[in-house]
Amino acid sequence: MLALTFSILLTLYLIIPDAIFRFFFSRYVPLRSLVPTRVETIYRAVALSFIPFVISTILVFWAWPFNTYPLRVDARPGSRSADYKTVMAALYSEDMFKKNYEEFWPALNRSTRRQCRLLSWYYVLVVLEGVAFGFLSSNYGKYQKNRIYSALADGLLLPNISEWHVFLTAFVFADKKSPVLVDVLCTDGTLYDGQVTQYFLDGSKLSGMILDNPRRYDRKSLLADREMGKTVDPNAYWRKIPSANFYVFADKILNINLKSIGVERVKMFVSKSIGDAAISVTIKTGTVEESSEPSRGPAADAS
């Protein structure tokens, strides 16, 4: 009976809070859905639930209204430990259960109400923790230079985040408008490039991505022109694909070359190079080399 009680408590105090935390955290950034080892699961659950548990315990013991609501318990002062002793003894030994039968049920009722009250506030704090951590994670690029944040991110935030989110979004940049540009080589040898606007996961695996301003590299024409002895500019063989949402299936991708341009980083580099910090940088991507029309690509700005 004690083993069963222990399992229930483990579920209520570690497993459910971990699930709640991950649910709210994942509202901000997609999480890894790896199957961790039992030790990793316990470590993560304990690390994440420690602060909410300590705070909720302190509040429920000493602070109004947390020590009263919800599930008010009408009992004489000091009955808490006596109730827990009665319940634990009865769970441990059937003889004790029979001996204290009359006291057991009221004590169990009060203990359950106290535990439910503690759990209510505990879960509320876990929700707040999940939201706070999610918010902090989504602003990694902005806060990463802070020493406390950096330690928190390395230990708790980043290990929970999908590596695809880090790779295919502007997650690491302070400026969320920084364009994420990629070259995608497919299994049939076709090379595409474009700006990643959306990606899709199947569990932890990438299932596909949408490219904006997609282009296909016309290698056949390049080789033909070379054969004819023409002087060629390799950059002139990109062909625009007339599509606003070009979907690339992940199982057709051989490799991805990330060409992200960090607006803040570019600004820092240019400022340092020309010795002038009072500048702003605007990046426009997606111009088609064959067209004379101006760039229609998205713009990112760092002032």
Partner: protein, 62 residues
């Protein structure tokens, strides 16, 4: 092997200034400084048509 995402993030950040931009800024440094002082802006063009416009912050604010 455990992937260190902070290391991945660092690599992405380090590689987020394109090589062509580094080359152009280094080779056209004087030109950029003069253009910023006279016209207030200078535009670099990447090999794939990327446009990086540098403006003096005062001009940007105006």
């Amino acid at each position: 092997m455990v992937t260190s995402l902070s290391k991945l993030a660092e690599l992405i950040q380090e590689g987020s200034v394109p090589a062509w931009l580094k080359e152009q800024v280094s080779s056209k440094r004087e030109e950029i400084i003069i253009a910023l002082q006279t016209t207030g802006s200078y535009t670099l063009t990447g090999p794939n048509g990327e446009l990086v416009e540098i403006r003096r912050a005062v001009a940007a604010a105006a």
